[in-house]
Amino acid sequence: MTHWARRFDIAGQAPLITLMALCVVTTLLTDRFLSPLNLTNILVQSSIMAVIALGMTFVIIGGGFDLSVGSTVALAGCIAAMVMVKFGIAAGVLAGVATGAAVGLVNGLIIAKLGVNPFITTLGTMVLVRGLVFLVTGGAPVGDDGLPAAFIAFGSERFLGIHYLVWVPAILLVALSFVMHMTPYGRRIYATGGNREAAYLSGVPVDRIVASTYVWCGALAGVAGVMLAARLQSGQPTAGEFYELTAIAAVVLGGAALHGGEGTLYKTVIGVFIMIVLGNSLNLLNVDSYWQRVAVGAVIIAAAAADRLRSR
């Protein structure tokens, strides 16, 4: 009883309350918000960002930070498209996800083993990977006309009335929440992010745990890259710019601590919805796109400030 009461404390539900308030206000201001087309749009837009943000949550709970996911999305999407044209869907998807995981592994090894600051490391890989994307593609979209029809269908069609793209984060959320909460590995990520030294002295292989969170993050950015390629029906070398910032903002809006050790995957997904719904409602209300950026930036700072005030 008390257990559940504690689990659903009001302060802990701030992200959900924020999201609902946002939806209510937008509904009152415009009747276009609740239209089926708009809601579907929000779900599909959120799906790709949610996959990236889930990976980011692993890294942030583990006490790290990853700026390279946006570039990784582009690289994974382009590599997936290139491989798919030649070797088919399965090989393409695998290549995309493996590309993401490889970028994550490089980040993880540099950060965990060499002890380089995560901000600097992933800032470096962000630029480096974007360079690789242009080298690999020559700057032009990949596979615009040669992608398999089934793959393009995956990017636009529905299963049981819901877009395939939306099923991906839904299934991932359930599976990864299980990993986070039910397996020793998941608990060790929380312990490492909460206090790396104490976790180390309790026998947790902290270097491996930290490195693994970046591999998750990279692999999930790879999945997002493949999803984006399916939606855009091609690999776009300029895709994914600023995705890292939206993903980090979503994780923070979801209540995770940037210093690590705290956070919940489903709340990150709520954070993603807040970001996407905010953009969507500003669009519906015809707010100037420059002002939209100002508003989104202000919301991120306000959320972080509210969190600080609450924890005092």
């Binding site: 608990r187 002295l201 026998g203 601590a257």
Partner: protein, 489 residues
């Protein structure tokens, strides 16, 4: 009646459920050394932090030179003339002696109206200030190149430059050698003659008897005694601190069994722990007692071979040590606990692999184990979902012990196991340590508190500069003088 240099009246302070200070009065006169003693957790540090502006009292009044002060921050306290010299000196390692000394008000010269640091005058001022302490280092030397004792003198000189009228020294001799202690005492005597009021917090009662003009004993957050020079001896202080006569603690003798853990190569700090045995490591701060424990737990880089239960092992990582049946309670609680996680997760952290069935944590078994241990160790409140940060120091320390009992280790390495723990919890932890040994475990415990070691250990090994200087068993009798001599204090 003359106005005291500083006074604290009717001070109350609580942290969570713990009443750290309970109506405490404390007074310091000009040109007086006033010692503050008490067991770990008696409230000394809390009182010192209130005087230094770190904590605000719940109730009560602080007055400096008769004027009531409300310190909102350490900065306010320094401005009012209260300087604290903590154990961890607050100097900037990469700055020179002169830069550190003049940090708060560097001498300035103006070039075309732009204020620049006047390095020549900075050096002069620093040297003049240090000369008052009869200490003449190179003012351009980086402070991280100085010895601890020298850094301490720099910190005191810095306090004097900030015109401090009340100097608080927290365990100033914990890391000093005999010669350095003598020099510090000479400096304190000089300052005292110049009218500075000095608060001297120490565990070393013989020093207190030799040095202090007055002594206040705290116990459980209250003033247990206040005596003037000549009115107290070490045994009086111990009795006031513990509330009982010194001899009244009895430790059941155990008959040690097989060797559980020993260094396999000959070295200056080689140790050996047997089953049914508590071995104490005594030494000054920096003598290497903590290094011995960290080495045996696989933390240091020099992992020399050891033998565990007669089998040769190389402990290169805590994971290896834990697998070999060794657990360590680190000297700082922040290294022992993940404060953001619940008590349950903290207790189970080293045992997760043992509680896993088919890739999943067996929650029911984990909860049972946690409930059992919280009962056994009397961890309060009895709520496994509470964050570790919400517990009192004593309960946090018990959670750290519970981690290793959950793992069922054979050897416990304890570094300052009762630091900052209240008296009741301290007694419980001592009982637990004895019980762990009586049940067949081996314990290696390092503590700066000799009284604690003489209470719980079967034998005490002393370390001086990384070398074991004496091994004294309970049967021979723990002679305080001999122990002090052996640790070089």
């Amino acid at each position: 009646m003359t106005t005291p240099a500083a006074s604290a009246r009717g001070i109350f302070k609580h942290f969570g459920a713990t009443q750290a200070l309970d109506n405490v009065d404390f007074e310091m006169s000009h040109g007086e050394i006033h010692a503050l003693v008490g067991e770990n957790g008696a409230g000394k540090s809390t009182l010192v932090r209130i005087l230094g502006g770190v904590h605000r009292p719940d109730q009560g009044e602080i007055a400096i030179e008769g004027r009531t002060c409300h310190f909102g921050s350490p900065h306010d306290a320094i401005a009012a003339g209260v300087a604290t010299i903590p154990q961890e000196l607050r100097l900037i390692p990469a700055f020179s002696v002169a830069e550190n000394l003049t940090l708060s008000e560097p001498p300035v010269r103006r070039v075309a109206g732009v204020p620049l640091v006047d390095r020549a005058r900075m050096r002069q001022q620093a040297l003049a200030q240090l000369a008052e302490l009869d200490f003449t280092p190179d003012p351009d030397q980086r402070v991280d190149r100085l010895s601890f004792a020298e850094r301490q003198l720099v910190a005191i000189a810095k306090a004097l430059r900030q015109r401090c009228r009340l100097l608080i020294l927290d365990e100033p001799t914990a890391a000093l050698e005999t010669r350095e202690i003598e020099r510090l005492f000479a400096v304190l005597a000089r300052m005292k003659n110049q009218g500075t009021a000095i608060v001297y917090v120490s565990h070393r009662l013989d020093e207190v008897v030799a040095l202090a003009d007055r002594c206040t004993v705290l116990r459980d957050g209250r003033v247990a005694a206040m005596r003037r020079r000549g009115e107290f001896r070490v045994s009086d202080l111990v009795q006031a601190m513990t509330g009982r006569a010194e001899t009244d603690v009895v430790t059941d003798a155990l008959s040690p069994g097989a060797v559980l853990l020993e260094d396999a190569v000959d070295r200056a700090d080689a140790v050996r722990v047997r089953s049914r045995e508590v071995v104490g490591l005594a030494g000054l701060l920096g003598s290497g007692t903590d290094r011995v424990l960290r080495r045996l737990f696989g933390v240091s880089h020099q992992h020399r071979p050891v033998s565990v239960n007669g089998k040769p092992q190389r402990l290169s990582h805590p994971t290896a040590a834990i697998r070999a049946g060794i657990g360590m309670v680190p000297g700082e609680r922040r290294l022992g606990l993940v404060m953001s996680l619940p008590v349950r997760d903290n207790i189970l952290l080293p045992s997760l692999d043992r509680l896993t069935r088919g890739g999943m944590i067996d929650r029911a078994a984990g909860d049972r184990l946690v409930a059992e241990l919280m009962e056994l160790l009397d961890i309060r409140p009895r709520n496994p979902s509470l964050r570790a940060s919400a517990l009192s120091g004593g309960n946090q320390q018990k959670v750290i012990l519970a981690k290793w009992l959950a793992r069922k280790v054979g050897v416990l390495l304890l570094d300052e196991p009762t630091q900052g723990v209240d008296v009741a919890a301290k007694a419980q932890i001592h009982t637990l340590i004895r019980k762990f040994a009586a049940d067949g475990g081996g314990v290696l415990v390092s503590s700066s508190d000799l009284a604690e070691l003489t209470r719980i250990c079967d034998s005490i090994w002393t370390l001086h500069q990384g070398t074991i200087t004496a091994r004294i068993s309970r049967v021979e009798g723990f002679d305080e003088k001999r122990l002090h001599a052996a640790i070089g204090g």
